[in-house]
């Protein structure tokens, strides 16, 4: 057992910290968020140079062979810096799914492009009526000659406006809600009759809804076997959940630092407000929550790559549920302890709080994952960390 990052992972984190301090300060970030494309192209190029975009891919595709713990190290910093670039969508989610499920030819073609920062991707897996259920797929794919025609709508596709390609789940068989019959397609942005309705999200990053109206793709666009994509999607999203848990961990760490500094500097009644026991005990609770969140983020990372779907799903559900609850507590209390300063747009505190809130509501909120964890209780024996 070892709970430490390796020297390489720590060095990577330090590099990112230096980058954030130099090129990604709070004001710069706000400027990136306001202007199109909603993030920094220059930063994206830097990530490519630093190898971040190659992190989870095999060496044969120009990757660094990193695992979920390497991604965790990066995502903590993504959280601390509130980085806006589509790292989660392109590298962790879509990159991870393509690495695990795409044909050798497609892997050879696209993974090096992702690693080089030449292509961005977005995962279009959720639909309006389905909430957080990946199996709720009403979008259809019908074979036509050597290719397919896709029809349907996908909602809140993260990083959709900047994506060059989408991974779209569509039903090739079965009824809405069934596990079987779901397939996955790589759909180019330029495909005919594909509409993207772009918007900003609450935390600044961009997203969009997709409308496919008999959109035609080639036969090679199908990822994996037809009708069997749900397990692939679930594994990919579980990796995304682990990354979000790490991002939340980074934000909570930063938020606690900021709040603690505020308690020591803000004076009322002639003294720093941190001398008041009501606030001290709240801060102690936030510290404990941070430690527990870190432990759950570790559980998420070390289980993210597991091929045992039940154990993996249960660990990830536990982590996402717990972090959803605990990070909500830290976020709300950080705002509260900052007083009115906590509710202004000019301070990073509110931005951290909003991002934590969005993380909770991405890929299933605390209630969703809590139910997923609780409802599998009978099937599992004593819980085991790994």
């Amino acid at each position: 057992m070892d709970f430490r990052y390796t020297e390489e992972q720590l060095a990577l984190q330090e590099t990112l910290q230096r980058f954030i301090a130099r090129d990604y300060g709070f004001e710069q970030r706000r400027a990136f968020a306001k202007a199109d494309p909603g993030f920094s192209d220059a930063a994206w190029k830097q990530y490519a140079e630093l190898g971040l975009l190659a992190l989870p891919f095999p060496e044969e595709y120009g990757g660094l062979d990193g695992g979920a713990v390497d991604v965790m190290a990066v995502m903590e910093q993504v959280g601390q810096g509130l980085l806006l670039e589509p790292y989660l969508s392109t590298v962790v989610l879509c990159g991870g799914i393509l690495r695990d499920a795409a044909s050798a030819a497609l892997r050879s073609a696209i993974l090096p492009q992702i690693a080089a920062g030449e292509v961005k991707l977005a995962l279009a897996a959720y639909e309006a009526a389905g909430r957080y259920e990946l199996s709720h797929v009403a979008t259809t794919a019908v074979a036509e000659g050597a290719g397919w025609r896709l029809s349907g709508r996908k909602s809140v596709v993260l990083d959709a406006p900047s994506a060059d390609c989408f991974l779209v789940s569509a039903r090739t068989a079965g009824a809405v809600g069934e596990r079987a019959g779901i397939s996955l397609f790589l759909v180019p942005r330029a495909a005919e009759r594909l509409r993207v309705l772009p918007y900003a999200t609450q935390s600044g990053a961009r997203a969009g809804d997709l409308e496919l109206t008999a959109t035609r793709v080639e036969g090679a666009a199908l990822i994996g076997a037809p009708g069997e994509a749900l397990a692939v999607l679930e594994r990919g999203v579980d990796a995304g959940i682990a990354a979000l848990c790490a991002e939340a961990c980074g934000i909570v760490t930063a938020l606690n630092q900021a709040t603690l500094a505020y308690l020591k500097s803000r004076k009322q009644f002639g003294v720093p407000i941190g001398v008041f026991q009501a606030l001290q005990h709240r801060m102690a609770d936030m510290y404990i929550a941070e430690e527990q969140i870190r432990s759950m983020a570790i559980i998420a990372a070390v289980n993210a790559g597991s091929s045992d779907a039940l154990a993996r799903g249960r660990a990830l559900a536990a982590a996402k549920a717990y972090i959803g609850q605990a990070a909500r507590f830290v976020g709300q209390q950080a705002v509260q302890l900052h007083g009115a300063m906590g509710v202004v747009d000019d301070l990073i505190v509110s931005h951290y709080f909003k991002r934590l809130t969005m993380i909770d509501m991405t890929f299933g909120d605390a209630d969703f994952h809590f139910a997923r964890f609780s409802d599998t209780a009978e099937r599992s024996g004593a819980h085991q960390a790994a």
Binding site: M1, D2, F3, R4, Y5, V69, M72, L260, L263, K264, G274, V275, Q277, L279, Q280, H281, M283, A284, D285, Y287, I288, E291, Q292, I293, R294, S295, M296, I298, I299, A301, V302, A318, A321, Y322, F370, A371, F373, S374, D375, A377, E378, A382, H383, A385, A386
Partner: protein
């Protein structure tokens, strides 16, 4: 980062499991399983069995007669003990006074006391709290005045756990009333057979005799029983409390309690279905389980950092104590609630090993049932003892957050 156990650790687990399967006396494990009353002999007998195996004090250094385990080995051991319904070891000796004697005692004290602790020969109890000194421990007033080759001790200690069994008591006493309260405290080892000591039971809310008042009237204690330096006892006391709190997370115990709870929820029924299928109740179990999953890793992270950095436990253990004590309480509460109205009967005789449930109640009544309400009431102590939750938050606030 790797949460997997190494092959050597897995082999250790197998070895521990086999040992426990062969060596935990069945009458004792039955008591644990059924919630019956443990007596001194059960715990001493178990300590002697562990001692014979060389595991009397897992984490002590080998030069003091310990097994020299690291935190992961200790974690595995505790987990397996909990799963095998092995009784707890006596914490006041092994985890409290012993680390103080190792760190601050002289060679003679180490040579005399430590072997007797690890072998199970001596039972120790704690003399910290006083009627006027609970959370404000440093205000304690039990006095020790030098008289020739002795200290003469007068005063009262309270909330003393299992002192009715004890051969020795370690005491915080006031040796100086000058300067600030923390600077006039000394750490004394006192033979419970000394003339002038009397033990008065305190019956706690569940009706059991676990704690005591201890009175000292002109008790003569040889000067050689002073640990470390006179008036430096507060430093040792804090060191001891941090050691104590490392075990307060009680992850192994929590896991045993969770397993018991799930088993109860599987066997109790509501509207003809197992209680575990009731989503409301199951959710309450799941909520505690989440907290425990996180604590297990936090606990290992904190303890392994101490071990790696070769430093005594610091204020981080306060977080472990807060969480562990809350979790064990919540589990006890849920176990009681799992019984429904069967939690109401107060059957004191049911804590005796010979008690037969069938004589009194229907066959649906789980054998463990009579102990569960008492356990719930008893465990309210966990967020109070060893520094209340509020004191732990003060410690975190001051020592970690710098507020």
């Amino acid at each position: 980062m790797d949460l997997n156990f190494t092959p050597a650790e897995e082999a250790f687990r197998t070895e521990v499991r086999a040992f426990l399967a062969a060596e935990v006396p069945k009458d004792i494990s039955d008591k644990l399983r059924l919630g019956r009353r443990l007596v001194k002999d059960d715990m001493v007998r178990w300590q002697k069995i562990l001692f014979r195996r060389g595991w009397g004090a897992g984490m002590w250094p080998q030069r003091f007669g310990g097994a020299g385990w690291n935190v992961v080995q200790q974690h595995i051991f505790e987990e397996e003990c909990a799963a095998a319904n092995a009784p707890p070891q006596i914490p006041f000796s092994l985890r409290m006074v012993a680390p103080v004697i190792m760190a601050f005692g002289n060679a003679r004290q180490q040579e005399y006391f430590l072997p007797r602790i690890v072998s199970g020969e001596d039972w120790w109890c704690q003399g910290y709290s006083e009627p006027g000194s609970g959370s404000d421990l440093a205000s304690l007033r039990t006095s020790a005045v030098r008289d020739g080759g002795h200290y003469v001790v007068n005063g009262q200690k309270t909330w003393n756990t299992l002192g009715q069994y004890a051969d020795w008591i370690f005491c915080l006493v006031r040796t100086s009333a000058e300067a600030r309260p923390q600077s006039g405290i000394s750490f004394l080892l006192i033979d419970m057979k000394s003339p002038g000591i009397s033990v008065r039971p305190i019956i706690t809310l569940e009706g059991e005799h676990e704690i005591n008042d201890i009175f000292f009237e002109n008790v003569r204690v040889p000067l050689e029983n002073l640990v470390g330096e006179e008036n430096k006892g507060w430093t040792y006391a804090k060191f001891l409390l941090n050691h104590e709190r490392t075990s307060n997370a009680g992850v192994g115990n929590c896991k045993r309690s969770l397993a018991q709870l799930k088993q109860l929820a599987a066997t109790q029924s509501v509207n003809g279905r197992p209680l575990i299928e009731d989503a409301r109740f199951r959710d309450r179990i799941a909520q505690v389980e989440l907290e425990l999953m996180a604590l297990e890793i936090t606990n290992l992270r904190v303890l392994s950092a101490f071990a790696r950095e070769n430093r005594p436990p610091g204020a981080e253990v306060s977080a472990l104590k807060i969480k562990g004590s809350e979790i064990i309480q919540q589990l006890a509460e849920l176990k009681m609630h799992a019984l429904g109205h069967d939690a109401l009967p107060y059957l004191r005789e049911a804590l005796d090993p010979e008690w037969q449930a069938e004589a009194l109640l229907g066959s649906h009544y789980p054998a463990v049932a009579p102990s569960l309400s008492g356990q719930y009431f008893n465990l309210r102590k966990t967020t109070i003892y060893a520094g209340s939750t509020e004191i732990q938050k003060n410690i975190i606030s001051k020592m970690i957050l710098g507020l």
